[in-house]
Amino acid sequence: MATEAMAANQAPGSNYLTNGHGIKSWLLTTDHKRIAILYLISVSIFFFLGGLFAMFIRLELLTPQGDLMQADTYNKVFTMHGMIMVFFFLIPVVPAVLGNFLVPLMIGAKDLAFPRINLLSWYLYVIGGTLILHCMLTGGVDTGWTFYTPFSTAFTNTKIIEAGLAAFIAGFSSIFTGLNFIVTIHRMRAPGLTWDRLPLFIWANYATSLIMILGTPVVAITIVLVAVERLFHLGIFDPKLGGDPILFQHLFWFYSHPAVYIMILPSMGVISELITCFSRKRVFGYKFIALSSVAIAVIGFLVWAHHMFVAGISLYAAMIFSFLTFFVGVPSAIKVFNWTATLYRGSISYATPMLYAFGFIGLFTIGGLTGLFLATLGIDVHVTDTYFVVAHFHYVMVGGVLMGYLGGMHFWWPKISGRMYPEGWAKLSALLVFVGFNLTFFPQFILGYVGMPRRYWQYPPEFQVLNVLSTAGASVLAVGYLLPMIYFLWSLRYGPIAEANPWNAAGLEWKTSSPPPTFNFDETPVVTWEAYNYDEIPPKEMEVPVG
């Protein structure tokens, strides 16, 4: 296998996209870049499916009475929206697409440490994804993505076991990716690429991988326990069988809170790459940003019960978890301050990836600060389980993660595809996403504070105006998300050919051709410089006056 690929690699002008044709060369590939493309296609399908469910939700909520669909259908729709977006889009999107493509390139390696396990993790993702689609088409689930007991184990008649199995299998995909990244980053860095020279995107993916391998097994165990109680009536969570329903919430959030950091940390890594490149600056406070990722990964495991302040946990437990939650705010704040400080005395370009980085800072700031409202006990009691929470986590998980992902996709698209995207359309889509996002989700903060609970199919008429605003925003947002899908595909054929380093960016991934050859580098690079040595790389001439 290796010799075969090596021989192909020697063909002049060959790259990972042209090296091997036919469906088998893709489905049996062990090339991390091709696997990244497989992931790109599959997560995009799930993103648009999840988005379709979001549109159904917003359409139903245009009017106070339940009229577009039945209550049960609505419950299945928001469950599917949550499950697909969380397990099949947000968790894998940045690590499995951008991380898979970039981790070996950025550290000067030929591939990930375990290329076959990498392919296996994509297959597990696809099996999990197929199961959830099957589950959806044959009846669906109506528990919400949170599967709270005893509703999920003893009361609902929907397909809990199948949906749980889908998440269980997708979880192993995530564990394998994390394992692969950790070993690769430890063992396969190019000579001279010491830990304090690593790109911050690598640090972020490293921290993410730690959470993946430590947290995901817990949710897997939890799913098994739900299945055992549902199938064999062993009392674990159902009080009628002697179980404890709050135990489920502890186990579930022990994974699902850190899962939020699985989603956001890689995007934060992307933002560090974008801001440095488009302001031609070394990053301000490298060590602090790098270690803040690790701090988020560690402290993120100690705050889970802040989802449970009204669930019936003890007064003092609630106080401790509230206090610890404020701690996790600090490393996030450090990142935002450092990115802002990096702009100081830079030479800032307004290329599309940078617009997304600005958008990320804006949305993540609002998402993070409203997180402090929820960490504050007296306020959480009122706003938890309302649209305030819905708005908050969409700001962090959608605003944050997608801004980082789309910014990264535009930045690395020339490297991935060998083509440039159309800058004008891209700027328009960045603007639509930012405006549409705020119009969709900002009204939901107000909606939550005035008391509209989440997961409501019908609602009192006084909440209608804000819901209409939100639905209007969602339409703008949908256009903003569809545009890149169209022009990225368009650029594959009509986009200008990309150079090896169209942004004159630092980082090893730009020192090989676009698209890269199968084994990434013709010779193993030797690193003698610090990360983001933009003082040693002049900006592109053609780029000079931008904006």
Binding site: F155, G285, I348, G378
Partner: protein
């Protein structure tokens, strides 16, 4: 309480508004001032430990004020005053059943007088629900198999939304109702209009009809502990632990009697799981709680008269 929550909310809005504005202005100003220009290179700066430390510690200090203020409000929300009137609430898919101590029952409505502290003792017959009154800024999950409590004092007569805030199945969004707050005299009139056997009397009848009284005797030592004056007192268990005999303890001792055996007694009591309904359990618990005065034989327990309006105790609620 709602006034306090709003005050804290406004404080957080101000602080985070200032923070957001600072970051937005900083990013905008820097992005414009240092936009790319021909012949002007970026000026490299490595970082600043002093800045890093100050922008870690100062925000954390501000966050501590959020924590402390929030925790103080939460402590009050979770600590019902001793003089509160008790109301039992049973949630089920998809309705709220309310039972007053006077025996008055309601569905999806809760009538309360102004100026009176009201403590809700809640449980669920099936899945987890959550009792949410946005106007009072309070919420508490309602669990199967145990009691959770919530208290409030309404100050303004009116009708307020009651929502279920924890997703509970098909008609989750229909599991709503109203809190009807009345002037005390109107409330007394409303209360007088209903049929009533006080809850502890119902409990007393059950206590004898279920045979509890054969072992839990009040005159001589029976096979079970004498329940007089037990409620809210510490109880020494067989395994050496001491627990407080609160509502959940009494409830558990009826449903799962062997879980916590009182020191000096044998685990001989049968379970009443599946024999008594949640409503009957509530009545039994109310009866045991009323035994803090020795039983008088008739239903002569003094019920709390409807509290007259006390303007000096009014607070923005």
């Amino acid at each position: 309480m709602s006034g306090q929550v709003d005050a804290l909310y406004i404080y957080l809005l101000l602080v985070s508004g200032v923070m957001t504005a600072l970051i937005f202005i900083a990013v905008t100003v820097l992005a414009i001032k240092y936009r790319r220009r021909a012949g002007v290179d970026a000026h490299q700066i490595e970082g600043s430990t002093i800045l890093e430390i100050s922008w870690s510690i100062i925000p954390f200090g501000v966050m501590l004020t959020f924590f402390i203020w929030g925790a103080v409000i939460y402590f009050q929300e979770r600590t019902p005053p001793a003089d509160a009137t008790e109301v039992y609430v049973v949630a089920k898919q998809w309705m709220w059943k309310v039972e007053h101590m006077e025996g008055q029952r309601e569905i999806n409505e809760l009538h309360v007088p102004t100026g009176q502290n009201v403590k809700l003792i809640m449980t669920s017959q099936d899945v987890i629900h959550s009792f949410f009154v946005p106007a009072f800024r309070i919420k508490q999950d309602v669990l199967p198999g145990r009691y959770t409590t919530l208290w409030f004092k309404a100050t303004q007569p009116g009708t307020y939304h009651l929502f279920c805030a924890e997703y509970c199945g098909t008609m989750h969004s229909g599991m709503g109702g109203s809190i009807v707050v009345m002037e005390p005299q109107d409330y007394a009139q409303w209360m007088a209009g209903g049929p009533s056997a006080p809850l502890q009397d119902t409990g007393k009848q059950l206590f004898s009809s279920l045979g509890c009284a054969t072992c839990h005797r009040f005159d001589v030592q029976g096979r079970g502990p004498n329940l007089t004056g037990v409620y809210n007192k510490p109880v020494l268990l067989e395994d050496g632990r001491t627990v407080t005999a609160d509502e959940n303890y009494v409830r558990e001792s009826i449903l799962n009697p062997t879980a916590k055996i009182v020191n000096g007694f044998k685990p001989v009591m049968p379970t009443f799981q599946g024999i008594v309904s949640d409503e009957q359990l509530n009545a039994l618990v109310a009866y045991v709680k009323s035994l803090n005065q020795p039983p008088t034989g008739t239903a002569g327990l003094p019920t709390q008269p409807a509290a007259p309006a006390e303007p000096q105790k009014m607070q923005v609620q």
